[in-house]
C-alpha cells in the first residue's frame, strides 16, 4: 500500500496507516488471500528434549485435501538457520531441543485438514532429561557440543551450555565501601504477546523462486536466512512486508518464512501459514528469564564505590540473539550511574526451555530491575532519599561507563530524574470505593481494609541502535518524479511504532514538498534498512531518508527537469567490540548512544489479599528530539504497560521445559482495567550524532517501569520483593 502523509518534523502528525486500520481495511499478513491458496501447518515437538527415532508420514499424505507433508529430508539447502548463528534446524533432524520445535509441515486445502493431517504424522521420540534449570546448566550435558557461538570474538568458555560468558572489569573490582547491600533477583520469562499472530503467504514465482509476504522486523535479514535453506540465490527470494500486528522483538527470528516457502515451492501453489495463539507462544523467542546476584558498595554519603553483579540469562534451546542480550545486560547492569569500580559477569546459557532472544529492552530490563532494587536498598541503608541517591550518582556527559566508554553525546540523567520526581501524584482516594478501583478490581470483596499505598521511583537507560562493531546501516531511495511529487523506498518495517510517519515527515521536511509517497517495503527495490529493533529505526531511517533526499535535490540541480532516482546508505558512527577478557572498549565506543527514562509510581496493595493496583505513573523520558510528540507519548504509554505486565502478571511458565500457559486465558497481559494514567514529560536534549537530534523512544519506558512499579509495591508492603512478576504469595506470605 502506498502511503501519503501531512506534516513535518516536530509536528503532531496523524498516522497515514490509521484510517485503513480503523476501517478494518489494512492488510495484515494474516489477511492475505490469493486464488488457489493452500494452508500450511507445522507439527511441533511435544517434548522439551528428545531423540527422534522415526518420522512416518505415510498416513498423513493420504489424508483428504493434503498436498504435501515435508520433513527435514525435504529441505533442499542448508538444514540450519539462525538470526546470528545457524544453530537451529529448519525442521528437526534427529533430536528436538525445545517444546514446540518444528518437526514437519503439511499443506492442505483447508487449515483444519492440515491440522488433522499433522496429527497423523507418527513421530517416535525417545524422551531425554531436559536441561531445565539455568543455574545448573553448566554442569549438565552439553546441548550444543559444536559450540556455534565460538570463534566470534567472545571470551573462551568451554563449560557446557554457555552461549556467551562476558566479564566487565572496571577499576579495582575489590574496592571496598563504607556500606554494602546485597540481593539476589529473579526475572521471569516474558512473552512479546503481540496481538497479530505469526503469519505469512509464500507464493511460488513459477521460475523456481518465491515471494514471501510476511509480518517481520527485518526483511533483508529474513532473506539472508531463507535463501540458503531453500538452496536459492538471494535474488530468487523476495520478502515483502505483510501488515505487522505488533512485534516487540518477537519477529526478529524467523517464524513461517522458510516453512511457507518450502511448501509453496513443493506444491507450486501459494501457501498461507497463520499461527494460532498457542502456537505463537512456541513460535517465537521470549524475554530471557534471569537470575541476578548483586552487591553494591558505597561511601557513607552515598557515592557508589563498587558494583558487583553476576547475571545468568536462560537463552533456551538456540542462540538467537542471546550473545547480544548478555552483553547488553552487562553493559547496563549498573544503571545510569557513575561508578569507579565494577565487576560484572554475564552469562547466557543453553537449556531446553523455550528459546529466548529479543524483547523490548533487550537485557537492560532484567538488570534495571535488580540494580534499581539495590539503589532503593542502599538509600534505606544510608538513610538517604532514593531520588537524592540517584541524583548523587547520576551519569553525565564526560563520565565513564564500566566498559571504559566515555559519554560523549546526550545523556541528561539528572534532568530526567528531576523531571520525573517533580511530577505530582494524585491524592489518595478515600475508602470505601467502587470495587473496580480497589487492588484486584471487582474480584476484591473487601472494603479496602488491607489497602496500603506506596510511592516508588526508578531510572534506567539503554543503548540505541546496534553496538559492539556491528555494521549497522539503513538504505533509502528517493525518486523525484516529473509531476513534482516524490516517492520514497525504504525497507524499514512498520510494526506499529510509526516509522512510516517519521520517514514521510523527514522526506517532506527535506524536499520541501507535501506530495510524498512511501512505497511498500520489500527486499527487491531497495537495500536493507536493518531491523525494527534496538530503538534504532527512527534514527536510522531518518538518516537514510534525509541523505537520500538531499542527494536527490543535488541531482535535480545537475539535471533540471529530469526524473531523479537515488539511493543512499546511512551509517551511525562506528562502534567497536568489547575486549573479550576485560569487557573494556577497544575503540572509542561500543555503544553509539543512550536514552534514559525515569518513573515515579503510586501503587496500592491489599496486603491481606496480595492484590495490587498501580494508581498512577509519572514518566520523564530523554527523547533527544520528539519527531512526532503524540507518537512518542504513545511509545511511553505502551512501553510502560509492557513493563507493568512483567512486574505484576506476565510470565511464561514451564514444567520440565514445557510451556503450561500458552494462551491469553493463562498468560495475562495488562487490560484497560490494569493500566493507570501515565503522565509523561519529554526531555529534549538533542543527540549530536543523530539526524535532527532524535533518539529512539521505544525501549526506555519498558526498561524502567517494571523496576519503578515494584519499588512502589515495596514501599507499600515493606517486603523485599526480589522476583517479578510479583505474585500474591510474595506479598502475603
Amino acid at each position: 500500500m502506498t502511503q501519503t502523509a501531512v506534516g513535518r518534523i516536530g509536528q503532531l502528525v496523524a498516522r497515514t496507516d490509521a484510517p485503513p486500520k480503523v476501517k478494518g481495511e489494512f492488510a495484515y499478513a494474516s489477511d492475505l488471500i490469493v486464488p488457489g491458496m493452500l494452508w500450511g501447518h507445522t507439527l511441533r515437538s511435544p517434548h522439551a528434549h528428545a531423540r527422534i527415532l522415526e518420522i512416518d508420514i505415510s498416513e498423513a499424505v493420504s489424508m483428504p485435501g493434503v498436498h504435501a507433508v515435508l520433513t527435514h529430508e525435504d529441505v533442499p539447502g542448508e538444514k540450519r538457520y539462525g538470526l546470528e548463528f545457524a544453530d537451529q534446524p529448519v525442521l528437526a533432524i534427529d533430536r528436538v531441543l525445545y517444546y514446540g520445535e518444528p518437526v514437519a509441515l503439511v499443506a492442505a486445502e483447508h487449515p483444519e485438514q492440515a491440522r488433522r493431517a499433522a496429527a497423523r504424522i507418527r513421530v517416535e521420540y525417545e524422551p531425554l532429561e531436559p536441561v531445565a534449570d539455568m543455574t545448573r546448566a553448566t554442569e549438565l550435558p552439553d546441548l550444543h557440543p559444536e559450540k556455534p557461538t565460538r570463534g566470534h570474538g567472545y571470551r573462551e568458555d568451554d563449560r557446557p551450555n554457555v552461549v556467551r560468558h562476558m566479564v566487565i572489569r572496571h577499576g579495582d573490582p575489590d574496592a571496598e565501601g563504607d556500606v554494602s547491600v546485597s540481593g539476589v533477583y529473579e526475572i521471569g520469562s516474558q512473552d512479546q504477546a503481540f496481538l497479530g499472530p505469526e503469519s505469512g503467504l509464500a507464493v511460488p514465482d513459477g521460475a523456481g523462486g518465491v515471494d514471501i509476504y510476511v509480518a517481520t522486523q527485518w526483511l533483508h535479514v529474513d532473506r539472508a536466512q531463507v535463501a540458503p535453506c531453500l538452496g536459492l540465490p538471494l535474488e530468487s527470494v523476495r520478502i515483502h512486508l505483510g501488515g505487522v500486528g505488533g512485534a516487540f522483538g518477537g519477529r526478529e527470528d524467523l517464524s513461517m518464512q522458510i516453512h511457507g516457502a518450502l511448501l509453496a515451492l513443493h506444491t507450486n501453489r501459494p501457501v498461507k501459514i497463520v499461527y494460532n495463539r498457542e502456537e505463537s507462544f512456541t513460535g517465537h523467542v521470549h524475554r530471557h528469564p534471569a537470575h541476578i546476584s548483586c552487591e553494591h558498595r558505597a561511601t557513607r554519603v552515598g557515592r557508589l564505590v563498587n558494583v558487583r553483579m553476576q547475571i545468568l540469562l536462560d537463552g533456551g534451546a538456540y542462540a538467537s540473539s542471546s550473545t547480544a542480550v548478555a552483553s547488553n545486560a552487562a553493559s547496563f547492569a549498573v544503571g545510569p550511574y557513575e561508578v569507579p569500580n565494577a565487576l560484572i559477569e554475564s552469562t547466557a546459557l543453553y537449556t531446553n526451555n523455550p528459546p529466548c532472544g529479543a524483547m523490548r529492552g533487550f537485557g537492560a530490563v532484567q538488570t534495571c530491575f535488580a540494580s534499581e532494587a539495590q539503589m532503593d536498598k542502599l538509600a534505606a541503608a544510608l538513610g538517604i532519599d532514593p531520588v537524592e541517591l540517584r541524583l548523587l550518582n547520576a551519569l553525565a556527559p564526560g563520565d565513564v561507563l564500566p566498559t571504559g566508554q566515555k559519554i560523549t553525546g546526550s545523556l541528561p540523567i539528572a534532568e530526567t530524574i528531576r523531571a520525573a520526581a517533580a511530577l505530582e501524584p494524585p491524592a489518595p482516594e478515600p475508602l470505601p470505593r467502587t470495587p473496580i478501583r480497589l487492588p484486584g478490581g471487582a474480584g476484591n470483596t473487601t472494603r479496602g481494609d488491607g489497602v496500603k499505598r506506596g510511592l516508588g521511583f526508578a531510572v534506567g537507560f539503554k543503548n540505541i541502535a546496534y553496538s559492539e562493531g556491528f555494521d549497522d546501516y539503513c538504505a533509502a531511495r528517493v525518486r523525484l518524479l516529473a509531476d513534482g511529487s516524490a516517492e520514497v523506498h525504504c525497507a524499514a518495517v512498520e510494526v506499529g511504532q510509526g516509522v512510516t510517519g517519521v520517514i514521510l515527515q523527514v522526506a517532506r521536511t527535506e524536499l520541501g514538498i507535501d506530495d510524498v509517497r512511501l512505497a511498500p517495503s520489500q527486499t527487491s527495490t531497495v537495500d536493507s534498512a536493518g531491523s525494527a529493533s534496538a530503538s534504532r529505526l527512527s534514527w536510522m531511517a531518518a538518516g537514510a531518508v534525509r541523505d537520500a533526499c538531499r542527494a536527490a535535490l543535488e541531482e535535480r540541480e545537475r539535471r533540471p527537469g529530469e526524473e531523479v532516482d537515488v539511493e543512499r546508505i546511512y551509517r551511525h558512527p562506528r562502534t567497536t567490540p568489547l575486549d573479550p577478557e576485560t569487557g573494556q572498549i577497544t575503540g572509542e565506543r561500543a555503544h553509539v548512544a543512550f536514552a534514559a527514562c525515569a518513573m515515579k509510581v503510586v501503587a496500592e496493595v491489599d496486603v491481606e489479599l496480595g492484590l495490587t493496583r498501580v494508581v498512577w505513573i509519572g514518566a520523564a523520558q530523554d527523547v533527544g528530539k520528539a519527531i512526532n510528540p503524540q507518537q512518542v507519548e504513545g511509545q511511553i504509554e505502551g512501553g510502560t504497560a509492557q513493563g507493568l505486565g512483567l512486574a505484576l502478571m506476565e510470565e511464561i511458565q514451564t514444567r520440565d521445559g514445557r510451556i503450561t500457559n500458552a494462551s491469553f486465558t493463562d498468560y495475562l497481559i495488562p487490560t484497560a482495567l490494569d493500566m493507570p494514567p501515565v503522565e509523561s514529560v519529554l526531555i529534549e536534549d538533542p543527540e549530536p550524532d543523530a539526524p535532527y537530534g532524535l533518539k529512539g523512544v521505544g525501549e526506555p519506558p519498558t526498561v524502567v517501569s517494571t523496576a519503578a512499579i515494584v519499588s512502589a509495591l515495596r514501599a507499600a508492603t515493606g517486603r523485599e520483593l526480589v522476583r517479578v512478576p510479583v505474585r500474591p504469595d510474595d506479598i502475603v506470605f
Binding site: 480503523v22 476501517k23 497479530g196 516487540f248 509492557q642 484497560a672
Partner: protein, 151 residues
C-alpha cells in the same frame, strides 16, 4: 452447509464446515477480514462484532449459528470515505499503533457509546477491558472514546 448472513446490511452466502467459527467465515469466506484473529478463544476481543446488535466475539460463535442473522463488522461503520465518529477519534487521538486490536476496540466502543453515550472513566475502562491492546497502554484509546462521546 450453506449459510446466509446479512453482513453490514448485505446478504452474503458461504459454504461452511460445521466446525468453522463466524470469525473464520467472515475473514476467509465472506470477504470481511477486518475482524482480527488474535487469540481465537474469546480473550482478546480483536474479533468483536455485533450479532443482531449484541457485542460478541466472532471466534466464539459458530458460522452456522449466524445463519440468517445480521452481523455488523468494523467494515460496516464508516459511510464511504467518512469515518464513524469513533473511528475518526481513534485516528485523531493517536489510539492506533499496530492496529491489530483496533477493529475490535472500535466495535466495542461503538457498542459502549450506544448503551451509554457519556460513560464515566470506570465504566469506560470496564467496558473495554475485554479488548486487549499490546501497543498503546490504552491511554489514547480512552482519549479517543471520550472524544467520540462528546462528538
Amino acid at each position: 452447509m450453506r449459510i446466509t448472513v446479512f453482513v453490514n446490511g448485505e446478504e452474503r452466502q458461504a459454504d461452511c464446515w460445521e466446525g468453522e467459527s463466524l470469525l473464520f467465515a467472515l475473514r476467509e469466506k465472506l470477504g470481511f477480514p477486518g475482524s482480527k484473529n488474535a487469540c481465537e478463544q474469546g480473550e482478546c476481543g480483536s474479533c468483536s462484532v455485533l450479532l443482531d446488535g449484541t457485542l460478541v466475539c466472532a471466534c466464539l460463535v459458530l458460522a452456522v449459528q449466524a445463519d440468517g442473522h445480521e452481523v455488523t463488522t468494523v467494515e460496516g461503520l464508516a459511510s464511504g470515505e467518512e469515518l464513524h465518529p469513533v473511528q475518526q477519534a481513534f485516528v485523531d487521538a493517536g489510539a492506533v499503533q499496530c492496529g491489530f486490536c483496533t477493529p475490535g476496540l472500535v466495535v466495542a466502543a461503538v457498542d459502549l457509546l450506544r448503551r451509554s453515550p457519556d460513560p464515566s472513566d470506570d465504566e469506560l475502562r470496564e467496558a473495554l477491558s475485554g479488548n486487549l491492546c499490546r501497543c498503546t497502554g490504552y491511554a489514547k484509546i480512552f482519549d479517543a472514546v471520550r472524544a467520540a462521546s462528546r462528538a
